[in-house]
Amino acid sequence: MADSLPPDTPAKPNGAGGKDVVIAVRDVVVGFGEKIVLDHVDLDVHRGEVLGFVGGSGAGKSVLMRTIIGLVPKREGSIKVLGVDMDEVTDLERQAVERRWGILFQHGALFSSLTVMENLQFPVREYLDLSPRLLDELAIAKLEMVGLDATACHKFPSELSGGMIKRVALARALALDPEIVFLDEPTSGLDPIGAGAFDTLIATLQRTLGLTVFMVTHDLDSLHTVCNRIAVLFEGKVIETGPMKQMLASRHPWLRSYFHGVRSGHRTDADAEAP
């Protein structure tokens, strides 16, 4: 297994700006029955960045995320993750890529019959051969890193609050020290303080572990504070990608109402410049 996992594969510099592209979505079309949800979508995610992915409810943000991870089949287009074309991989290669990403599902998707501790150890046991003591210690360490107390470790998911579930799910997504994490609305359902702490945590992890983060979010604060770039999905297409400044300057009516609407309240262009 060790050989199939070059941990820091120097991916070929991409034409656009010479940035190292870890996820490349090209011309992807996804639909359910008659309905086309993603209509020729292009998107790049660069190494080490936090990409905020926004769009209205039901726009297809979760669908794009699930298409990238391979849970939803696409009709056209190609997706490359960490330089690997996900359509042309063998099972082993796919597994090697899967070990290098972590996913936080919209509803947590914790295993309901396992305790928090067992949930965190589950992927680690599968891929690594570690001593029980190290397994336990690491589970606790990850739990505390996401802001939970070690006392939660023997609880079952049904005994946790919504915010705790999100945190445990993040800890599980981070269990194998992935290079990419996909977060589907990580701060929805958290109180503003908790959401702020979550943002700080993601920023810290991005710096310490060199994470690349693909974050679906509606949280304007998250977008302002942690996202390096923002991509906007509207009517099946990615209509803008760029830093917050660009979003605020955009003339597109939907973007204007999204970023300058009532909810964005006090925000001004000056706020965006000081991260």
């Binding site: 297994m1 060790a2 996992l5 941990p7 820091d8 295993f111 309901s112 019959s113 305790t115 891929y127 690594l128 051969d129 570690l130 001593s131 190290l134 336990d136 210690e137 690491l138 606790i140 360490a141 990850k142 739990l143 505390e144 890193m145 107390d149 070690a150 006392t151 470790c153 023997h154 079952f156 998911p157 049904s158 005994e159 981070l174 194998l176 020290d177 810290t204 710096r207 310490t208 572990l209 060199g210």
Partner: protein
């Protein structure tokens, strides 16, 4: 990749540890043993320098092991000093340095096998008592809901009842007909085979008639309904419970018993007698067919013999049991469904319990009915 991840040079009181290679997840096992053995060999060290300059990569796994090394030396009274760490890794070490709970992990309360065995027997016995309690409770709740609905019939959910009837009765007809038909055939064939030896062929008709109409028709149908519908009820109610749908109903002022359980139980009470009737006819038909083809008993003889051997009583005895058994199946399924806790495992457990319990109770009820009818002489 170099094999040695941690080298050591000691100068008297002063211990110098030099890290090398990749301190990452894949090497964690080896790194752990090297770190623990270094710690064991140098219990008495006073000053420890850990030089991390040679470490190419560090992830949480390696960083935690470094943290553990540092902590264990500090706990032993030494003053460890980590040098040469890259700036980014320093941040990671700060994160891990703040971890407090890892040393005092409480293992999940282990249980000793003997006490565990005894206590689980006790718990099981108690749970049998509890489940009778909850069955009685549910029965009460259903009756209350029924009375309430009778006072204002317009609030009754007829659509739901029709939908459930479609599931319980209509869709079950083919499989019930098939299975009871086969059972009828088998009884007749076995009867013929054994009765023929003492020339009592024609009594097979009596046996098939009485057995099917009094006992087997209703039993087979109830067992199938318990497996087919009871389990579905438990799973439906259970997953609604898991996703807080039942709580949502309750907060909107609906009574879950009235909205969810009553239509289901009524559907069973109406559906099971119908299925029992159809099943019994199908079994008689199967029996008659085998008697004709295998035993050479003409259909006219079969029918006239059947008329003599059974009375309306026989038929009534079977049919009267059906709604009661349906009630038991419905109540048990609902009790188990409402007992589902948060996990998928619990849903599976309750569904199994629902089927096992209701089949058991159906058979017990059948026995009780047999005693009752015998004592009133029917």
């Amino acid at each position: 990749m170099s094999d040695i991840l941690l080298e050591e040079t000691s100068e008297g009181e002063r211990l110098k540890l030099v890290g090398a290679g990749a301190w990452v997840a894949l090497n964690a096992r080896r790194l752990e043993s090297q770190i623990d053995s270094a710690r064991l060999r140098h219990r008495g060290a006073g000053q420890v320098d850990i030089d991390m300059t040679g470490v190419e990569r560090l992830d949480t796994f390696g960083a935690w092991l470094l943290e553990r090394l540092v902590r264990s030396f500090s706990a032993g009274g030494a003053t460890p000093n980590v040098t040469g760490l890259k700036e980014d890794y320093r941040l990671l070490m700060d994160e891990l340095g703040a971890v407090k709970g890892a040393e005092k992990i409480v293992p999940r309360t282990g249980t000793q096998s003997l006490t565990y065995a005894l206590s689980s027997i006790g718990e099981n016995v108690a749970s049998v008592g509890n489940s009778f309690g909850s069955i009685a409770n549910m029965l009460g709740a259903v009756i209350v809901a029924l009375l309430r609905v009778l006072t204002r019939p317009r609030s009754f959910r007829f659509t739901s009842l029709v939908h459930q009837l479609d599931n319980v009765a209509w869709r079950a007809v083919p499989i019930v007909l098939l299975i009871t038909f086969l059972i009828g055939c088998i009884i007749a064939q076995q009867g013929l085979f054994h009765f023929r030896r003492f020339g009592a062929d024609v009594f097979v008709v009596d046996m098939v008639g009485i057995l099917v109409l009094r006992e087997l028709g209703v039993l087979i149908v109830c067992i199938m309904v318990a497996g087919r519908t009871g389990s579905a009820y438990t799973a439906e109610l259970g997953s609604m419970k898991m996703r807080e749908e039942i709580d949502a109903l309750r907060t909107m002022g609906f009574d879950p018993t009235e909205v969810l359980i009553l239509p289901r139980i009524l559907a069973l009470i109406i559906g099971v007698p119908i299925l029992t009737f159809l099943g019994s006819m199908s079994a008689l038909y199967g029996g008659g067919l085998v008697c004709w083809l295998y035993g050479g008993i003409d259909p006219e003889i079969f029918l006239s013999r059947l008329k003599e051997s059974i009375s309306l009583n026989t038929f009534q005895v079977g049919m009267i049991k059906a709604p009661f058994m349906a009630l038991v199946i419905g109540i048990v399924a609902s009790v188990e469904g409402m007992a589902v806790k948060g996990s998928a495992e619990s849903l599976g457990r309750q569904t199994t319990a629902s089927v096992v319990e209701s089949i058991f109770l159906v058979i017990v009820m059948d026995g009780i009915f047999a005693i009752f009818f015998a004592s009133i002489g029917k």
